[in-house]
């Protein structure tokens, strides 16, 4: 199957981060600063991505502000015409840093918030970050960036979704992403503490629907459903290797940020190969393109062109094979593992926090 042109690149510039959120999508074993790509590497990656068709660039992490060359990277992306988003915790986004990023041509800043309740927010982040985020939001507004807020939802905050929406509006967001937790990496480790109850999910949906209508034209609200409570799986980025790609801090190129969890695949690096070769030819990107790889019930299912069998990472993590149907699907013979996870989610909220595996850093 021939490859489409990709539209979106998520550049995970570093795994370093001052926050310790227990739902982080970064892998459990993370590389430190000494293994990160250089400035020149990243600039080459952006140029090659643009040549391949990428239009959207996310500068992400970890906390991308931990990279001292962030301004140089934003400037390069801007010169290429990429629509660039800084995906940040807000911690470290000082006035002078924000000004130099604006000057470099950065267009869009997305700041995460953990909760509307400051105490819980800081407990989730594993640091006192609320006041730093508020200050960062004010600077982002003042400098005229396009401004999004992202909030990850789970059992400790889902019942406050209404207050979270009001907080985002009061901080002046143009756009709010309300994302129910997806269970990969650290979030899978903490699933019992993060999984919302059915009652929370139902109530939150009503609040989100009403707010989406009420804020229309003022703040765009995107509500990402909790997929464990769905009937059918999510259509991950239009299918594997269709429009989206991720470059990890060490240069490995991934079809999605969770793909390193599929230990049966090997991912090529931009240190050895071009972005075009990796996108078009590499075994990892070709592994689940199209529908040849599918097993039943996907193979003969009319929904295979709608959800593409769901998430390969979730299928691998929960069923042991990446070619199985995403077990979230009620047609999957493995759906019981999802129902069991929902039933078991009554454990006390006691997080295993995200920490970078400690190693000597030479940064």
């Amino acid at each position: 199957m021939t490859a489409n042109r990709p539209t979106t690149l998520l550049a995970e510039l570093t795994y370093r981060c001052p926050l310790h959120c227990p739902y982080c999508s970064n892998p459990l074993a993370m590389a430190g600063a000494s293994e990160e790509l250089t400035t020149e590497d990243w600039q080459r990656v952006f140029t090659q991505a643009r040549e391949l068709g990428v239009l959207q660039l996310g500068l992400s992490g970890g906390e991308p502000l931990a990279r001292k060359d962030l301004e140089a990277l934003a400037r390069h992306a801007h010169a290429l015409g990429l629509y660039t988003t800084l995906v940040t915790s807000g911690v470290g986004l000082t006035e002078s840093r924000a000004e130099s990023l604006r000057e470099a041509g950065l267009e869009h800043v997305q700041i995460s918030i953990q909760d509307s309740d400051p105490e819980t927010a800081d407990r989730i982040a594993g640091m006192q970050a609320v006041h730093l985020k508020e200050a960062a939001a004010a600077v982002v507004r003042r400098l005229g960036f396009a401004f999004s807020i992202n909030a990850v939802l789970h059992r400790a905050n889902l019942h406050r979704i209404g207050e979270i929406i009001e907080l985002a509006a009061s901080l002046g967001a143009d756009r709010l992403e309300l994302a129910n937790t997806q269970y990969y990496g650290w979030a899978l480790e903490n699933r019992n503490a993060l999984m919302p109850t059915a009652a929370q999910v139902t109530a939150a949906q009503d609040v989100a629907d009403e707010a989406i209508r009420r804020y229309r034209g003022r703040m765009q609200i995107i509500y990402v459903l909790p997929d464990y409570y769905e009937t059918y799986p999510k259509p991950c980025y239009g299918g594997w290797g269709s429009v989206y790609l991720v470059v990890a801090p060490d240069g490995r190129v991934l079809p999605c940020h969770g793909a390193t969890h599929i230990t049966s695949l090997q991912f090529d690096s931009v240190r050895d190969r071009s972005m075009a070769w990796i996108w078009e030819e590499s075994p990892a990107f070709r592994a689940f393109r199209g529908d040849e790889w599918m097993s039943e019930p996907c193979r003969s299912c009319p929904r295979k062109t709608i959800d593409f069998g769901g998430c390969r990472c979730q299928a691998f993590a929960l069923t042991g094979s990446a070619t199985n149907t995403d077990p979230v699907c009620t047609l999957s013979p493995h759906r019981a593992v999802i129902d069991k996870a929902i039933d078991e989610a009554t454990a006390p909220i006691d997080y295993r926090y995200r920490y970078l595996k400690l190693e000597t850093e030479r940064a």
Partner: protein
């Protein structure tokens, strides 16, 4: 609110038009998204300056296409307004 010929369409503050040299195609870019535009769509959006009404845009395009395009322009911009990419006023 549906758009009408007297509406004054303007691009969402977060969206911008660009020409993609790779695809040789106009594109509308916005946070986490892109719309690939055909030449007609691009011609319409380039005239959405926050000053002209849909009627005024249609009048300009009618000279180019030699037919009444008011309904088509209204329909096209309404679809983008449904996605919050176009605002009225």
């Amino acid at each position: 609110m549906p758009l009408t010929p007297s509406s004054v369409p303007t691009l969402w503050r977060l969206a911008r038009l660009d020409f993609d040299q790779v695809r040789q195609q106009h594109v509308l870019l916005y946070p986490e998204g892109a719309v690939l535009l055909n030449d007609t769509g691009a011609a319409i959006l380039q005239l959405c300056d926050g000053q002209r009404s849909i009627s005024a845009i249609a009048t300009i395009l009618e000279e180019r296409y030699k037919c009444d395009v008011t309904a088509d322009v209204t329909e096209y911009l309404s679809q983008l307004a449904d996605r919050e990419l176009i605002r009225d006023g």
